[in-house]
Each structure stands twice: as C-alpha cells, then as structure tokens.
C-alpha cells in the first residue's frame, strides 16, 4: 500500500498544528516521523488513519483520494501510544475485535487471533485480562490487535514510548524483524533519534508542523539540512557564523595523547564514553571514545577528520534550538 499526503494543513482550535506537509511512503517502505513534542507527528498519523480531517490538502492511498473516507473504511492499522487496549475485553477479544467487526466467520476469527498473538510472541496470553498485562506485554498485544485484520499499512504512535531500558531495545528489534517479515508499509512516530534510525528506511524530521528534512538515516547523519536538524540529531559541535554554521560530527573528533585541550567531562554510555573537551582556544567539542577513555582534567590532543566537518545553513525559525520546543 502506497501512502501520500499532499499539502496537508491541520488547524485545531484556530492554531495551526500541521502546515503544508507533503510526504510519500512507497509500498513496503518504512518511514519514521521524528520530531520534538508538539511538532505535529501524532496529528499527521491521525490524518493518515482517518481520525483527523485535514483543514486542507489530500490524503492518498495507492493514488486514490481517501481524504473524506472515515477511519473504519481505510484498512490502515494504528498502534496507539500506551496501547489503548479495551479494558472490558480479554486479550483474545481485543485482538479479535478487528476480524469480528469485519464479519469474518468465527473459525477464521480465532485463527487470526492465534496468528497475530504468535507474531508478537504471546501465543498463550489469549485468556488473560488486559489489566494484568505489563507495559511491554500490553504494547505487544496492541500490535497484535492492529495486525489481526491484516492491514496493508501500519501506523505506530510512539510504540516504545512507555517502555525503558533493555525491554525497549528488545521490542525495537522484534518490531524491525516483524516489519521485514510482513513487508508492511509502516509509518512510525517517535521523538527518539535512535529508534527512528533503527526502524525507518527513511526519516522525516518535523519541526513546528512542517517537514524540516526527509532522507534515509545515513543521509541525514551526513547532510543535515540545517544546524537545527544537526543539533536535534544529537550533534553538539555547532558553531554559527552569520548565515552558515559549521557542524563537527562527534565521530570525527579524535582524542589522543598530547596537548592542546582539556577534558571537561567523561560520561560512560554503555560501551562508549561521551567526552567533552575544551581546546586551548576556548572552543568546546563533543567526542566519542571506545575503550580507554581519559578522565576529566586530563590534557589531551584533539584531531578533527575533515570529512566529518559540515557546512550547513543556519535555521532562523521560531524554534531556535531543538530544546526550546520540548
């Protein structure tokens, strides 16, 4: 299933939430919508699902205009943030809801439920009360529920948002594997850069209701559209100079023995250590080190790989820094 948004505007209570967004998702492609809170990500997802009518613009499915088609006739699945399971139904009844309202024969309904539960690795959870599920289980059931009607496109709104730590990573892995196996068209909303890069063939970065950049993760990382995008992706070495900004990717900053800079901080993040160093000329830089890392106060040498230094335009919109929006 091919999805497209054409010049979509959404206005709620007089305030523009989404502003002239055009996006295309090819059949079988996985697009991640990435952006800070309030950027309009979830609203776009609701527009695709048919839960929100755009105030102008069109929604296309396989080239056909479905803007006026209500949610229940679109055949697009949606996994809500925090699962949104029906509390008055069991796990199996939740998962079987789609096949049931589609009027499938009873036997077929049961088969769909089993199939969907097996897909998410909870084959024996059918009789459980949804209020007894853990956060991770609830999210898996929500996914199974969305898959049971066999939609050709699946939308996910912060599917891992309520989870943390190892559980989050594991479900992320499972999702990726599942998407590949089912060759679904997927649009997935997140505010987490790592999750977007892991699950999206392409990533659309939203900022204040507009698309800031759409590109595959590698391209985004190599060529951020402007300094706002660069900082949003986690690059902190941004120096503005008039209309241009110089971005030094942290992986291009090499720390070695010698002099010329002092380590300001060193924080271990799993296998690597995030370093912040101050050069003798006063410029502070972020760097990443694997293995042996210096300690704060150590004097080190800094070398910058030229391929990791990018020249990008300066973003002068209302949202000056990515943090000001959160």
């Amino acid at each position: 299933m091919r999805l497209a948004l054409e010049h979509v505007d959404v206005t709620l209570d007089g305030a523009g939430i989404v502003d002239d967004v055009s996006l295309e998702v090819a059949a079988g492609e996985r697009l991640a919508l990435l952006g800070p809170s309030g950027a309009g990500k979830s609203t776009l997802l609701r527009v695709l699902a048919g839960l929100e009518r755009p105030s102008s613009g069109r929604v296309l499915v396989d080239g056909a205009d479905v803007t006026a088609l209500p949610a229940h006739r679109r055949g697009i699945g949606l996994v809500f943030q925090d699962a949104a399971l029906f509390p008055h139904r069991t796990v199996a009844e939740n998962v079987g809801f789609g096949p049931k309202v589609a009027g499938l024969p009873r036997g077929e309904q049961g088969a769909r439920v089993e199939e969907a539960l097996a897909l998410v690795g909870l084959a024996h959870a059918g009789d459980r009360d949804v209020t007894t599920l853990s956060g991770g289980e609830a999210q898996r059931i929500a996914l199974a529920r969305a898959l049971a009607p066999r939609p050709s496109a699946l939308l996910l709104d912060e599917p891992l948002g309520a989870l943390d730590g190892p559980l989050r990573l594991r479900l992320q892995e499972d999702l990726r594997e599942l998407f590949e196996r089912l060759s679904l068209t997927v649009v997935h909303v997140t505010h987490d850069v790592g999750e977007a890069f892991a699950l999206g063939d392409r990533v659309a970065i939203l900022r204040g209701g507009r698309v800031a950049q759409v590109a595959p993760p590698e391209t985004l990382w190599a060529h951020p559209a402007d300094d706002w995008v660069a900082r949003f992706l986690g690059m902190r070495n941004v120096a503005r100079d008039g209309d241009r900004a110089t971005v030094t990717r942290p992986d291009a900053v090499r720390i070695g023995p010698g002099t010329g800079a002092t380590v300001v901080s060193a924080d271990r993040d799993g296998p690597f250590v995030r370093l912040r160093v101050r050069r003798d000329d006063g410029v502070e830089l972020d760097a990443v080190s694997l293995g042996e890392a210096p300690e704060p106060g150590d004097v080190v040498a800094v070398e910058i790989e030229p391929t990791g230094v990018l020249e990008v335009p300066v973003w002068r919109g209302p949202l000056d820094s990515p943090a000001s929006q959160g």
């Binding site: 839960l51 929100e52 105030s55 209500p70 229940h72 949606l78 509390p87 008055h88």
Partner: protein, 531 residues
Amino acid sequence: MDRHRRALTPAERATRAATVAIPVAFLALFFAWPLVAILRRSLVVDGALDVPLDVLTASSTREIAWFTLWQATVSTVLTLLAGLPLAWALSRFSFRGRSLVEALVLVPFVLPTVVVATAFVALLPDGIEHTVWAILLAHVFFNVAVVVRIVGAYWGALDARLWDAAATLGAGPAQRQLRLTLPLLAPALASAASIAFLFCFTSFGVILVLGGIRYATLETEIYNQAARLFDLRTAAALALLQLAAVAAVVTVSGVLERRLGGARRAGRRPPRPRHGERVAVAAVVVVSLGLLALPPLALVVRSLQVSGGYGLRHFASLAETTPALLVSPWHAVLNSLLFATAATAIALGVGVPAAIAVARGSRGLDVTLMLPLGASAAMLGFGFLLAFDRAPLDLRSSLAIVPLAQALVATPFVVRSLVPALRARDPRLPEAAAVLGASPAQVRREIELPLVARPLAVAAGLAFAVALGEFGATVFVFRADWPTVPVAIFRFLGRPGADNVGTAMALCVVLMALVVAASLVSQRGLGRSAR
C-alpha cells in the same frame, strides 16, 4: 503530547446541542417554572408587588426559622463527631471486610426519610420518640455516610508520610492531630459539613414524622400551611424564605466543594493497623456498625410484634383495604414500583445527556443541574402544586406529575454518578475500534456502551431507590387513589392504634428491602461487564 480536538460534523454538533437542550428544557419547565410560581404567589397580589412582611416577621415564623437553623447546626456537629472515627478507620487502614463496611455505611443514606423516621419511632422508647433528640439522632444516622464518604476519600488520599515527617520533626501524637490532621482535613470537613447541613436544614420526612405537632421547620411548615390549612399565601411566603436560605447554603457549599478540588485517588493501599491501632479500629467499626444497625433492626422487630408475641399479621394486613388509604397497602407498593420505574426512565432521559454535556466541560450546566438537589423536595412539590394547576399545564389530576416530581429529585444523583465515569473514558478506545474497522454504530455497541454499562446501572439503581423513597415532593402532588409507599406509611403513622403503627412498620420493611435491593442489584448484578 499533541492535543487533539477535531472539528465537529454538523450531526455531532446537533447531538451536542441536544445534550444541553434536553436537560435545560426539563429544568426550565419542571424546576424554574414552579419556582417562578412560588415567587409569584408570594410576592404578587392582584398584579401588584406585595411583600408578605406580616408572615415573614410573625413571631411564629421566627420561631420556626430559629428551630430550623439550630437543629440543622447541632445535627451537623453531631454528624461530624459520629462520622470522623469511622472515616479515620476506613481511610487510614486496610483490613479484611473493609469494602463491606464501606458499603454498609452507605446504606442509611439511600434509605427513605420516612423509613428512617419510622425506624427511630420503633427504636426509641415511648416518650422520647417525638422529642428533638429523636430528630437529631435520625439526622446523624442519615448523614454519617456523607462524612465518611467525603472526609474518608480525602483522608485516604493524603500521603501517610506527612505524619511520619511531622513525627521526625518532633511533633507528638496530639500535636500531629492538631497541627497536621485538622488543617489538612479542613476543606473536606467544611464540604461534608455544608452538605450535611443542607440535608438537615431541608429535612422533611424526619421532622414531619418525629416532630409531631411540636416541632416544625420551614420545610414542614410549608406543607402544614399548604396541604393542611390551605393557606397558600403563608405557605408561599415561607417557601420564599426557605428559597433564600437554601440558595445561601447551596452557594457556600458549592464554594467549599470547589475548594476541595476534584476526586482524588488514594496513591497507595493504606497499611494494616498495628498493635493499639487494631483495637481502636475494631472498636470504631463494631460500635459504629452496631449503632447504624439498631434502627433498621428495631423496625424489623416492631413489624413482627403483634399483641402477645411475634407474627406476620402486619404483613398480612398489607393486602387489606383500610380506611387510612383508598386502596390496600400492596396497591401502594405497586404504585410506587410503577412511579419509580417511570421516574427512573425520565431521570435517565434527562440525566444521561446532561452528564455527557457536563463531562464534556459544561460547567454552567453542572451547577444548574445540582440546584434541584439543593432546592428542598417540599418546595418542589409545593411549586408543582402552584405551577401546574391551570391550562395548558394542568397536571393536578394527571398521574404523570408524581414521576415527574420524583425524576426531578433523582436526576442530580444520575448526573453525579455518571459524570466521573464519563470523564474517565479514554478517548482513544473508540478511535482504536474505528481504526480496526468498526463502524460508528459498532463502536457505540461494542466499546462505548459496555464501558459505561456499570455506571449507567448504578445511576439507574440510585434513581430508582431515590424515586421509591421520595416523600417531600410526592406528598404534595399524589392522588388520593394512587398513594405511594412513603405516603401510605405517613398516613398509617398519623392514625391512632397499634395496628396502624404495625402496618406502617411492615410497609417500611418492604420499602427498605426494595430500596436496598435496587441499589445492590444495580451494583453487583452486572459483575461481568463491570471489569
């Protein structure tokens, strides 16, 4: 998180308008219009303004107003004192049977006023059953539930670590109660007190039955003047006074309740009582429940007492036509069931749309809908009497007037019990269903309706119970050949002879059973869909 509010389709806008229009129209016709009729009757004579100063300043009026005020004040203070220990035990500790105790404590609140008053006639020895003590005790019996409910919920939501913190800061047990518990509970105490005061101030059935000829409040005096002495001018003047007083109390109570904030939820399960606490909690629960059980038990015992022993003669006599009524008491039971069913249907028809509108955030409607709760039942009944006595709305001989009056009293309860459930609905659930392919009709049938089925049943049961026991308004508008059970009980009590009293007791037992059954069935019967 992004905020989502869609633009409304014309159909949705029409539905929304209806949820406001239906209750507003009902209240305008059956609440505002009767009040206007009272104002007109009390203030206008021959088309000119004529304030009934003579009635308002008469010494008899002053005495009645004074008694109304002080009995309500004393009742409220006693209720607080009686309810606080129970609120403490039920909110600060968890123990086996706690939820059962909570449910039992609420039972007196749903009992009809006439039944409670009759129970105290049965309980108290001859000589004090018609004193002011009987009135005060009955009021306490009634309103303990209010204190336990409001103060208990608030108390239970307070963080127990506050007391621990106070202790580590050097506050002893007495100081902790004085400097911490009391100030913390102040808003809840004030709110509970104002509601209990309102109920006692507008108390009707209890005063009429227990006060005899000696004690009258504004509320009962309106009835005496209108229904017994046919002095509508005096009755209307008293109703005017009552209206002003009630408006003042309702306003204060509304302010206090708003200060209390919305419903709170206890953060964690309270601890089990330890050592000395266990004794105290057990004593409080046992003594309180014992005292609360006494009046209903006395009622049952007296209903079985016949000359020379015990028997079912009073119940058997319910089938006999008596001079006290135009029909047999069983007829009154059937009438009551019929009227209460109709009243429940009306109360739901008005209350459900109203609750939907209130849950959506219509604050004005919320306040408006609570007005009938404050406006006393007798005032509503009297207003009905004055308002619907001429074309095009001559309902004097219509049977519809009884369920209409009862529905008016029951509707606020429907709204109150539905709004929290409606507010707690997750707006994403219908959306989740729609995305899974459910049509709007399927969404309503499969998701929205089952999710509100239990609160709806509770609301219906409550409305039914309230309508069954309604006395204050009904006694003004009932038709002599169609009495309800509370009216019949009042009639029997008013006639001499042990047999009449016995019949009244038996009828009270029947009514009590019906009311308790209605509220139990509505809360337990839908166990499965209740999850």
